[in-house]
Amino acid sequence: MTELVQEEVKLAPDAAVLQAARNFAETLADTPQFKAYEAAAERRSRDAAAQQAMAAYRSKQSSLQAMLMLNAVSGRDRDELEHLRQELLSNPSVAAHLQAQEDLTVLCRAAADLLSERIGLSFTAACGPGCC
């Protein structure tokens, strides 16, 4: 086995850690907050009006991306984008999904904070954007 592979093996979580991680995930998935989040996501994905509003907002946002980054969007475009955003947020299934996500985030944050406190390292900071 090469030294690099040996090093990777040493750093891979062992069976006990993986089992504890799986148990953690299963327990979290069993909470009312997670179930509500999944149900809200499902409802939103089946809501044609919500999908349409999301597509319209994303399309407008995408077309303005370069200008947004330069903070050079015209007042008219900014107003239109905000209007599309409000239309999206006023959709009941979108609003319900966002609320469910917020409720789940509060729970996950509490669990992650406890985990981080116990291990003496920030779990979420270690798993920065795009780590999975």
Binding site: K10, P13, Q19, T27, D30, L104, A110, E117, G120, C132
Partner: protein, 127 residues
């Protein structure tokens, strides 16, 4: 790391504590804590890090004013060289790096089961 004021349901609290216990026994995390303890007990190494931190902060202020001297830059580099030559500090840095590289793998296991990125969901609000 401050614990949240939100109360976890008992089952989730227990599962989190069990995961934490297993992580503390995992070699990268255990090694990190050993290296951290060694650094905390080494007054000379700690002093060196404090001097480096102070020198960097001072240089940032002077850089903003456009008044850095070559001697100050040389002095900073000298401190950096001393830090990189200190085995206790470098052991801690490497151990921390490995511990931080280990945790995303745990997050991956959790996230694959959930169907959503746990750490992203639990992280600070994005801007």
């Amino acid at each position: 790391m401050k614990a949240s004021s939100v109360t976890l349901p008992p089952g989730l609290q227990a599962a989190t504590e069990t995961l934490a216990q297993q992580l503390l026994q995992a070699e990268p995390i255990a090694r990190y804590h050993r290296a951290k303890d060694a650094l905390e007990k080494d007054a000379q190494a700690r002093s060196l890090l404090e001097r480096l931190s102070a020198a960097q902060a001072n240089l940032r202020v002077r850089q903003a004013r456009g008044s850095i001297t070559q001697d100050e830059i040389r002095s900073l580099r000298g401190l950096q060289d001393q830090v990189q030559s200190n085995p206790v500090i470098m052991d801690y840095a490497l151990a921390q790096q490995e511990a931080l590289a280990y945790l995303p793998q745990v997050n991956q296991t959790i996230s694959e089961l959930l169907g959503v990125d746990f750490a992203a969901l639990a992280g600070p609000a994005s801007c």
